[in-house]
């Protein structure tokens, strides 16, 4: 049964509007697979959660309204509010009935008791509601900030032992003594090294980096990038940098000394505490940074600033990230090229967006090579459903793509900014609070209908000893047009489908993506023999209007072959 039909059935079921024939269809579908029943069960749980959470919020609002009433409040107001309390759900009414009955009794007796007493009766009713619905969540109180520091040398003089390294080159060609690294300053010129520290903490250093060891439970990072896993530390771990300090009792976190004045840090797993150094006041107070949040320590201002976090800037694993934005913009995936694109109709690359009149392009379902981009195996405007579309240069085809007409709109663009034709409003690149047009992020803009084929084998050839392990991206459907100023970016009918193929095999589909979905994460494992990765965006058979899709921070992870 088509997905759309199932959605209609489930929607009717959840709204209590199922007809007899629909009920039979749904029953058959539900019993056909445990996954089907599970899907509906998940939606059922979600509905109950929505009811509970939002009703609790409503009751909380009533509570606030009652609490805000002054002593001299009119009886009518009290009647109104208690009536609203009473008119909540049947269950709530039953629970609040006793209190309301008392309130009404007193109201009936006119002003024989003061308004304040009525307020308290009303409050009692509201409290009864909240007790049953659950109190709204309170902001959590930060955990204790005290972290013991063991300011004493390790007993055997060894502060760290190398666990393993990857393509690591140390200063003057020397390697750390496998028996242990003693107090001192170390410089990793390139590559990566994982070290086990004396207190149980593990760190990964990414060259070029310079650091000092000399105390158990802490270290100094003078330059470069470091990832810390303090989950097995004896009493927490602390890293000092030229612009501040980062510490945690048990978290995983990363930090980079960007320059002599700035350090950036991100909490990977668990919360961290950070403090900025000030040239005149010394180290400031520690403040908490929650999991997946990031901060900048600024020596010039002595301030800690919150910065955007993708939650995955740092990793304990050895990983080389190939940036697909750089590739589309003409690079090899290791640089930070931006703001160029490929015409999906011809494969021509340009760092200039097309003229307004040239945005609509017609296709032929055939793959077109892109001579300017060595890691792009081709681009395609897919053929209409039922007609084969070429997916890669070795002849894999697929005829099930949801394409209503063989055309597209504008280039496959690696940004930076996203060009729009003529006077169209700019595309909203702020998704879930993160601006993917920022230099540290990046996006690939693909309009329905278009496809991009990437050469995985060529990537591996360019990185000896590494293999492709994952394709990751966020996907978001953004509209370019608001129908009126200030209107939210949402449209009922602007949905797209995303298809991800590896060597002609369909590996991921995300159907019916709309602006309401925000960001959808794609995380696809890749094998060392996979040759071509093809990404296709289609119009979902509802036309190409408004189908502006952003692939946010699209990347391919390479890891050492021997650690695959």
């Amino acid at each position: 049964m088509p997905e759309h039909d199932i959605d209609t059935l489930i929607s009717a079921y959840l709204e209590g509007e199922l007809t007899e024939p629909q009920a039979e269809q749904l029953s058959a579908w539900l019993t056909a697979s445990p996954d089907h029943a599970r899907y509906v069960a998940e939606l059922g749980l979600l509905e109950r959660g929505l009811n509970r959470q939002l009703l609790a919020q409503e009751s909380s609002d009533l509570f606030a309204e009652l609490a805000a009433l002054e002593d001299g409040a009119e009886v009518e107001q009290l009647v109104d509010i208690t009536a609203r309390v009473r008119s909540e759900t049947s269950r709530q009414r039953r629970l609040a009935r006793r209190q309301l009955a008392q309130a009404e009794k007193h109201i009936d007796q006119s002003l024989s008791i003061g308004p304040k007493a009525l307020i308290w009766l009303g409050l009692a009713a509201a409290i009864a509601l909240m007790v049953y619905l659950g109190w709204p969540e309170q902001p959590s109180i930060p955990a204790g900030t005290g972290i013991a520091r063991l300011d004493k040398p390790s007993t055997d003089g060894v502060f760290a032992r190398p666990i393993d390294t990857f393509q690591a080159v140390w200063e003057d060609g020397g390697q750390p003594d496998p028996a242990g690294m003693t107090a001192g300053r170390y410089r990793l010129v390139q590559g990566e090294a994982r070290l086990q520290l004396a207190d149980g903490t593990r760190i990964k250093v990414l060259g070029p980096a310079e650091f000092s060891l000399g105390l158990t439970g802490e270290m100094d990072l003078h330059a470069g990038e470091l990832v810390v896993d303090a989950s097995n530390s004896v009493a927490g771990f602390r890293v000092n940098t030229p612009s501040g300090a980062v510490r945690s009792p048990d978290a995983r976190f990363g930090l980079e000394v960007v320059d002599a004045l700035t350090t950036e840090t991100e909490a990977i797993n668990g919360a961290i505490q950070v403090a900025a150094l000030s040239s005149d006041r010394g180290l400031g107070a520690f403040t908490e940074v929650s999991q997946a949040q990031a901060a900048r320590l600024d020596l010039q201002t002595g301030q800690v600033d919150t910065i955007q976090s993708g939650g995955d800037r740092f990793s304990m694993d050895y990983v080389r990230v190939i940036d697909l934005v750089d590739i589309v913009a003409g690079g090899d995936g290791t640089g930070d090229r931006r703001n160029a694109g490929i015409d999906p109709q011809t494969g021509l690359w340009s760092d200039m967006p097309p003229r307004s009149a040239d945005w609509t392009v017609l296709g032929d379902g055939r793959l077109h090579s892109v001579s300017r981009c060595p890691l792009v195996a081709g681009v395609v405007i897919p053929a209409v459903q039922g007609t084969p579309t070429e997916l890669d240069p070795i002849g894999h085809r697929f005829d099930g793509l949801t394409v209503s007409n063989c055309s597209s709109y504008g280039p496959i663009w690696g940004g930076g900014y996203v060009p729009v034709p003529g006077a169209q409003p700019e595309l909203d690149t702020l998704i879930d609070g993160v601006n993917y047009a920022a230099p540290s992020r990046g996006l690939v803009r693909m309009h329905a209908n278009s496809g991009l084929c990437l050469d995985l084998a060529e990537m591996r050839r360019r990185h000896p000893g590494m293999t492709t392990t994952r394709f990751r991206t966020g996907v978001s459907n953004r509209e370019a047009t608001r129908r009126s100023p200030g209107e939210p970016l949402a449209d009922l009918y602007a949905s797209v489908d995303l298809w991800v193929f590896v060597d002609g095999r369909l590996r991921v589909t995300e159907r019916d993506i709309t602006t309401a979905d925000g960001m959808i994460d794609i995380d696809l494992p890749l094998g060392s023999n996979d040759r071509y990765l093809t990404l296709v965006v289609t119009d979902g058979l509802n036309g190409t209007t408004f189908d502006w899709v952003l692939l946010c921070q699209p990347r391919i992870d390479l890891r050492p072959s021997d650690r695959e």
Partner: protein, 177 residues
Amino acid sequence: MAEHDPNTQMRDFTRLWLENQHVVSGYIYLSVRDFHHAEDVIQDTARSAVDSFAGYDPARPFAAWAIAIAKQRIADHFRKQGRRQPAISSEAVDALGAACAEVAQEADERLHALRQCMAKLTGRHREVVELRYGKSYSPDKIADRLGLKPNAVNALVFRARKALARCVNQQMRRQDA
């Protein structure tokens, strides 16, 4: 139950009910469909389960025992409402019951993820969700209020629900990772 001390029985019942309430209430919710009526049926089921607990065999799974009671209370509910039994087949309802038991294992995590996902919902989708679930407005009433057709409201609610479900699943996958 072998244990006859009422206090101990009540303690045992409370423990078992708390452990299994997501399963039972999930089953009831999917059968009754209306949130408020479902809550009533859950209460009735809990009351009946307390009354019958002396006959509960600890060798049997509590959830299955409680669901058997819930089935009777659901039937009572529809009888009182003057409606027929839920339209989907009993096999489908059983399949949903089994799925509810599975989903209930991760209910707390899912509800926590839902809170985070709700915070991301914006614009019209958030508006209709708040009116539908927060204020329990009917699609017609929401349509009146927002100047839309009821069908468009249903479509918006469904899309928002789907987006939230997708977001919750993503959060769950992230947690697993």
